[in-house]
């Protein structure tokens, strides 16, 4: 059962090959057996899963036609779940129970999806390797010596290890696409404003966006359909028509104009990765697309711009974690300042503290113009690069990450780690949708192909990805040793 995609599981449920309860039990059993190795879950919600599965079976008996009804999924532990711990990968929230569901959680529950548990992640989504989690690193199912990527490393490892058919995730600078690339999955970060951020713990509000980690483009389409909604609880959520994402999956892509940014093939790109990406582009040409080189001249500014804006926003977003109302509070504080200093000093890990400090500095009197204001200006230039490119091409395609999964502790220098997202960060700064799909293996580790679309163009991106997956079988490859 666990090798089936969401679309196939939905069919199986309706064919009565298995019930939702059996499905949930099967995945819960796999989690029990296998996740000691991967550490992809922080919390397993067995009772909720079985109750939801039972309810789903009743709906299915009444011919419910929602494709996610009865399908087990996992939620990144950044999404608040009523009465179930939402840790955000941090000691700070190890004891935190939200009295509300994130809109994403609510939307998926409404369609009848079954929650298996909450997945591991870099602390407060800050990291590209899942090594900053308070709950320990996640291992890449393709090579347990390697990281799964981050920050949505738990969601990615769980889907790659077939201990969740699909998972929610979030992407602030590449946190869906880079783990998708490193774990051989299909990852989709929608347009900023497509999916509500209500109940999703903020890292950098103007960049954060919820999306999906699945094995196929079709499964991404199914999940996005359920997650996307206009939500007046999130002022940055945009009331834009939601198309039927599955309806256009089989469209012919001949005539598609693909732009390949020359800046994404420069120094630092692993030759094996480049080869796989170039081969994938040839495959797309065979499907009728035309390839054109384009330029995104301000690409080199994306990482520095991001590492001003994201820390600046996070420095304010994380101020609420002060030990006063919920979350971690230090032992016997002697006064208010002591409570603040020790609660935050002890509750946050090093990477989170580093980013809060960087952001606080960037916003300080006398530095604001040089850093924050300048970063907002370069952000506009980066967006303009894409707008210019999209005058000539329909989508932009290139590598997702510079190389395949790396070993634990391989990127101890924070800046080296930050460069992991060199190809994904610009998309967040521009608010554009981005995807990563598997396009090959190098040394038995997956390589991801990135597709960047125009605003609201998720349907076309999913269509391209689906057509690519019909012509190739990279997405069907499974890691060794997952049973």
């Amino acid at each position: 059962m666990h090798n089936l995609t969401i679309a196939e599981l939905a069919k199986g449920l309706r064919d009565k090959s298995f019930s939702s309860v059996e499905l949930a039990q099967h995945f819960l059993g796999r989690i029990q057996r296998l996740d000691k190795t991967y550490n992809s879950y922080i919390t397993i919600t067995e009772d909720t899963a079985l109750a939801q599965a039972k309810a789903a079976d009743e709906r299915l008996a009444n011919n419910d036609d929602s494709p996610l009804c009865g399908i087990p999924i996992a939620h990144k532990d950044i999404f608040c779940t009523t009465g179930i711990r939402t840790s955000c990968g941090s000691k700070m929230l190890d004891n935190f129970l939200a009295p509300y569901d994130a809109t994403v959680v609510e939307n998926l529950a409404t369609t009848g999806a079954v929650m298996l548990g909450k997945t591991n992640m870099d602390e407060f989504a800050m990291g590209s390797s899942n090594e900053t989690s308070y709950y320990g690193p996640v291992k890449n199912p393709w090579s347990t010596d390697c990281v799964p990527g981050g920050s949505s490393g738990g969601s990615a490892a769980a889907v790659a290890a077939r201990i969740a058919p699909g998972a929610t995730a979030t992407d602030t600078g590449g946190s869906i696409r880079q783990p998708a690339s490193l774990c051989g999955l299909t990852g989709l970060k929608p347009t900023y404003g497509r999916v509500s951020r209500w109940g999703m713990i903020a890292f950098a509000s103007s960049l954060d966006q919820a999306g999906t980690l699945t094995r196929t483009a079709e499964d991404s389409a199914i999940m996005l359909q359920a997650m996307a909604s206009f939500d007046n609880k999130d002022s940055t959520c945009i009331d834009h028509a939601i198309p039927d994402y599955c309806a256009s999956l089989n469209n012919d892509i001949s005539g598609l104009k693909i732009g390949v940014p020359k800046e994404y093939f420069g120094e630092g790109l692993n030759p094996g990765t480049e080869q796989a990406v170039r081969a994938a582009l040839e495959e797309l040409e065979k499907l009728g697309a035309s390839i054109k080189e384009v330029s995104l001249p301000h690409s080199h500014l994306a990482v520095p711009t991001y590492y001003v804006i994201a820390p600046a926003e996070c420095s304010a977003n994380l101020s609420r974690f002060d030990g006063a109302r919920y979350g971690y509070r230090c032992e016997s504080p002697k006064d208010l300042e002591d409570m603040y200093k020790r609660s935050r000093g002890e509750g946050f890990g090093d990477e989170v503290i580093r980013r809060i400090l960087v952001g606080t500095y960037a916003l300080s009197a006398g530095y604001y113009d040089a850093y924050y204001r300048k970063a907002q200006q370069t952000r506009r230039l980066i967006k303009q690069d894409f707008m210019d490119a999209f005058k000539e091409v329909d989508v932009i395609v290139g590598p997702t990450a510079t190389s395949t999964a790396f070993g634990f502790g391989a990127k101890k220098d924070p800046v080296a780690m930050y460069m992991e997202d060199i190809y994904t960060i610009a998309t967040n700064l521009a608010g554009l949708p981005g995807m990563s799909i598997p396009c090959g293996l190098v040394d038995q580790k997956p390589v991801g192909l990135q597709i960047i679309g125009q605003d609201w163009d998720e349907a076309r991106m999913l269509n391209i990805a689906h057509q690519f997956q019909r012509a190739t079988d990279f997405h069907q490859l499974a890691p060794q040793g997952i049973e």
Binding site: A98, P99, D234, T236, A316, S319, L336
Partner: protein, 482 residues
């Protein structure tokens, strides 16, 4: 040396919206601690602000009322600092692009002159909660009921030159926001709080002196006292060769003492930046026009109408139009009684005195506008004299019913019946022959004064109910033709 005082004000005006600026929690004053605080107000992780449209409408109304520019594009920013009653660790406020731009408020001063106070801008922001330091045994309690309540902060130019002008401006602003209905004006509940920036400089000097800011004054009297005390302090410091430290100060109205709270060096770097959870607020001309159409009558217009249509003096009109509740009470009384002038006299006289005495507002008056109009009508139609009216007023204040029933039950009706009055006059003349003779032999000039004795006797005999005018006429007739 002669010193000139320079005063600028920052006023926090709590908007009378039903719910908070970014959440659906109620803003009602006085609820049990933390019963009006939602997950958003508590800054629980993952929560996001949803702006309250009403707050924008109120801010726009204020801007239009002071003839200010309404900024069609305004931006919320985060003002970052740590304090337990500030749950997010930042206050959502406006800085670079506030909703209301520059405007002007004209203030009436005693003695009839006016003063223009320029408004620098007014911005929307959320209030903080409250820290309670008593009753927690060395710890502090936090009440977040107020956290997130919408405010407009009105910032003036340093245009005021003494406490009188500052207080007159403050009262004018109070009158404006209550008349607009955008603030309940309850200063004791913190609905309006004044921060006063004060500096002094030698007369004739252009450059401003170093200023101090006295924060959170919540009564006009405290404001006046605090200004006078601070001006005196600054002059003393400067005259004894010292210099003024830029600092934030607190004034305690109960103990009449002021103290320094923090100096500029200790002040925070607030690291303002645009709030990424909120989009810029964009208002269009049609919206602004719609709000303009719906503006209630402003105090200034009201005052003119009282003078021109109701014949009140400028002084009376100014006082009665100044406060929305008083204006409403006055208009209802004037309309029901048809006697604007009498209504004004009663409201500014007896009603005001009793309200003052019992420290209640006009909306709490035990005599309703309808009841007062009933009393005025009986004076007007001669049923009772002004003197008896005072007696009826006291009974009404004590809750004994309306004027008619009190006049009836106490038998206070004025006697105007000529037959009855003639009988009384005849009795008095018969019983006071000596005074009658004196009167009749006195010359014309002295007679009016001597008449008072007879009137007094008759009023006494009638227990004050005789119609004085009728009594006068009959007396004159009987005394003069012998």
């Amino acid at each position: 040396m002669q010193w000139e005082t320079v005063i600028g004000l920052e006023i926090h005006v709590q908007l009378a919206t039903k719910s908070k600026l970014f959440s659906a929690s109620s803003t009602t004053f006085g609820a049990e601690p933390n019963t009006q605080a939602s997950a958003i107000d508590l800054a629980m992780p993952g929560t996001l602000p949803s702006p309250n449209e009403e707050a924008f409408r109120f801010a726009t109304m204020f801007g239009l009322a002071i003839n200010a520019d309404i900024n069609k594009h305004s931006v919320f920013e985060r003002k970052n600092y740590f304090y337990p009653d500030l749950p997010k660790g930042y206050q959502t406020t406006q800085l670079a692009e506030p909703i209301v731009g520059a405007g002007i408020v004209t203030v009436q001063l005693e003695g009839g002159s006016t003063k223009d106070v320029r408004i620098h801008h007014a911005h929307l922001e959320e209030d903080a909660g409250k820290s309670l330091h008593e009753d927690f045994h060395g710890m502090s309690g936090i009440d977040l009921n107020r956290a997130g309540t919408p405010l407009i902060e009105v910032v003036t130019e340093p245009d005021m030159r003494n406490a009188e002008e500052a207080v007159a401006f403050a009262k004018k602003l109070h009158s404006l926001v209550t008349s607009l209905g955008i603030c309940d004006g309850e200063m004791s509940q913190g609905s309006m709080r004044f921060d006063v920036n004060i500096s002094v400089r030698p007369y004739g000097q252009e450059e401003l002196g170093t200023r101090t800011e006295t924060k959170n004054l919540n009564s006009f009297r405290f404001m006046e006292e605090a200004i006078e005390m601070e001006v005196e302090r600054q002059i003393e410091v400067l005259e004894s060769g010292g210099s003024i430290r830029q600092e934030t100060r607190l004034y305690n109205g109960d103990t009449k003492q002021a103290r320094s709270m923090r100096s500029k060096e200790e002040s925070n770097d607030y690291r303002y930046f645009p709030c990424p959870d909120l989009l810029p607020v964009v208002l269009d001309d049609a919206y602004i026009e719609r709000v303009r159409q719906q503006l209630p009558e402003l105090p200034e217009t009201k005052k003119q109408r009282y003078i021109e249509e109701l014949g009140l003096s400028a002084y009376d009109a100014d006082i009665l139009s100044g406060d929305a509740a008083t204006a409403q009470y006055f208009e209802a009384t004037a309309k029901l009684s048809g006697q604007a002038k009498l209504a004004a006299n009663w409201i500014m006289g007896d009603i005001a005195a009793r309200l003052n005495q019992e420290e209640i507002s006009i909306s709490q008056s035990p005599i309703s506008a309808e009841q007062l109009a009933g009393l005025i009508a009986r004076i007007d139609d001669g049923t009772i004299s002004s003197k008896i009216a005072k007696q009826v007023f006291e009974s009404m204040w004590a809750g004994e019913g309306d004027a008619d029933s009190i006049i009836e039950s106490k038998g206070l009706k004025q006697v105007s019946d000529t037959g009855a009055l003639e009988k009384m006059v005849d009795d008095v003349i018969a019983n006071n022959q000596a005074q009658v003779d004196n009167y009749r032999s006195a010359d014309e000039k002295k007679r009016p004064k001597m008449l008072g004795f007879f009137v007094g006797q008759i009023m006494k005999a009638s227990k004050g109910q005789a119609n004085p005018q009728a009594v006068n006429e009959i007396l004159l007739k009987k005394l003069n033709d012998q």
